[in-house]
Every structure is written in structure tokens, then in C-alpha cells.
């Protein structure tokens, strides 16, 4: 009986020394996958929902245009504006911006540039079609309407 008791006493200590290693592994995973946002979004971004989403394999080819109502309406007005990098630009500046984005790519990839249009769902088609016209002028014809997956509520 006494022998049996001794045995149980020996196993009460659960080794927790491996726990930090496991947590650190998780931590490193999240540290590596985290992309810290290097730019502040100045416009409203309620991305519309869609179902037929596709993914671009090469992320370096993507340049982002944000469209929406400015968050700071007292400074920028309430009309939808376009944000490229970290400034608000006019429609006429898009060609220049596209050329700058293209210059940042290697020569072989220049004509494969994708523009990801992150437009707010409340934007009207007027500004969107103006952007599309400018993108055609700039010969950046691969356009992706950024959207999030639709949640089916049946």
C-alpha cells in the first residue's frame, strides 16, 4: 500500500518546461505572417462582398488603389476620393502613379502589373469608371475588384 502511494506522489508534477517552446512557436508563426500596415488608410473602406473570388499568386505584382469617402470629411470633403500609397490623388494623377508603380517592378514584370481596386461599397460607378478609363490610358489593364467572401445566410 505504501509502495503504491509513493508512486503516485512521484507523478504529480507535470513538466511544463516544454510549454514555452510551443507558445514561442505559435508566436513566431504570427510574427512572421503579420504584415504591419505601413500606411494609414484615409478613406472609408467597407469592402463589398462577392462569391467568385480569385487570388493573385504573385503579391509583388499588385498595387493598391483605395477609393471611398474620406474619413476626415472636414479636410477632404465628402465626395469619394482615391488614395494611392499614403496620399489622396486626383483621377488625372493615376497615369503618373501607375508609371511609378511599374518602374518599381523589374522589366520583365512591368506589363503584368495588377491593380487591386479597394473601393468602398457606397461609391458610385461614376468615379469607378473614371478610374478604369485612366487605367486603360496608363495601359494597366489588369484590374481586380477587391472583395471579401460572401457569408451565405440561408
Amino acid at each position: 500500500m505504501s509502495k503504491f502511494k509513493k508512486k503516485t506522489k512521484a507523478e504529480t508534477n507535470i513538466p511544463t518546461s516544454a510549454l514555452p517552446d510551443i507558445i514561442f512557436m505559435l508566436l513566431f508563426f504570427f510574427m512572421v505572417t503579420t504584415v504591419l500596415r505601413e500606411q494609414e488608410i484615409l478613406v472609408e473602406q467597407k469592402i463589398p462582398q462577392a462569391t467568385q473570388l480569385q487570388k493573385i499568386q504573385k503579391k509583388t505584382l499588385i498595387s493598391y488603389l483605395y477609393v471611398g469617402q474620406p474619413k476626415n470629411t472636414s479636410l477632404y470633403g465628402s465626395e469619394p476620393r482615391i488614395q494611392a500609397n499614403d496620399v489622396l490623388i486626383n483621377t488625372t494623377d493615376i497615369v503618373l502613379w501607375v508609371n511609378q508603380q511599374k518602374d518599381a517592378l523589374s522589366e520583365a514584370e512591368r506589363d503584368q502589373i495588377w491593380i487591386s481596386l479597394k473601393a468602398d461599397r457606397d461609391v458610385k460607378m461614376g468615379p469607378i469608371s473614371d478610374i478604369q478609363f485612366e487605367l486603360r490610358e496608363a495601359d494597366a489593364r489588369k484590374l481586380m475588384y477587391a472583395s471579401v467572401g460572401k457569408v451565405e445566410n440561408n
Binding site: 507558445i23 514561442f24 504591419l36 467568385q52 458610385k124 484590374l143 481586380m144 472583395s147
Partner: protein
Amino acid sequence: MAGKRGRMSQEVNAGSMADIAFLLLIFFLVTTTIASDKGIMNILPPKQDPNQPPPEVELNERNIFNILINANDDLLIENEFRNNTDGLADEIKQFILNFGNPDEDAVALYNSLPPSLRGMADQSPESSDHPMSGGAVISIKTNRGTSYEKYLEVLDLVKQAYFEIYGERVGLSGEEYRTLSGQTAAEKELIDRGKEGIPMAISIAEPDKIGS
């Protein structure tokens, strides 16, 4: 005795280490926004040369599936008023696969289709001739006041119709076909086989300026 004490102190208390790591982990969990580079792909038409008028393409009215969206987000589909998009994807599939007046190549294409798609061919003379280039076109025309959300919803349904056709040709569902990455040769072959002969003919017209 002294040796025993030394051995005791050798074990570093690592219990709180987990707590520290947990705190860091929670911080990164909260700050992480897994970047979603997903969206609906669209290839814009090449820019127009101002010296040359846009080429007049002769298309029969029956080959165009007209979708008009006005500033109130009402739809006019094939001259029929709608205020919702229910069943639009199936109508588009029916339209694309109508084979009303197929030429020799289109007959060959028709014979290569799986029976489930062949069954959709109504051969109605009022609908599209064939799905190859020069045949069926889906035209989306918006107004400058149309909401972006509605436009995307309609474009989404048109894409869905095409992806379902492509997927069915290679024995996949529309969703499986859409998520093919094309990075391996086998996937690339599937993608090419799916869309061979049936180009995604979506025409997005310049929006109206009036009536908003």
C-alpha cells in the same frame, strides 16, 4: 547536502515564461490582419486611339445579353424590368450555351461538351448563336449613379455562370475550377481545357452620364 541544494537551484523556473510568451502571442493575434488579396478579376479593354474611331463590330442583337443597371440599382435584363438578381446566373448559362445558329467549329465545340451542358442548349433562334468568339456576349451597362456594390454583384453572377460552365467541362464544380492556381502543369491544363473555345466575353460599357 550542499550538492543537493546546488542541484535544486539548477532548475530554472520556466512557468512564467509561458505567460510572457502568451502575452506576446495575444498581442500579435490581435494586431494581425491576414492580408486578403482576393477579388474579382477583370481585364480592361485596350485604350482607344483618338485618331481611330472604335471599330464597328457587327453583332447581332440576339448575341448580346443586355444587363442595364440604373441609378436606383434597378435592373433591365433583356428588356425586362427586375429589382433583384435571382436566377440570373442560370439565365446567363442558358444564354451562353444556346447554340442557336452554330457554324462548323461551334458544332465541334458542342459535341465536345459533356451531356449536362449539351442539355442546356435550347437552340432558340432568339438567343445566342454559339459561345465562341463572335458569338455570345454579356453586356453590362451602368449609370454613373449606380452603386459599385450592385455592379459587382451582377459581375459576380456573370463570372459565376462562366466558371460553372468551365468547371463542368473538366468535371469540377465552379468553385473548384475558380480556385485552381495554375501553378502546376496539370492545373494549367485543366484551366485551359475548361475555357477552350468559350471566351469570357463580358463587355462593360461606359456608363451613362444622364438621368442620375
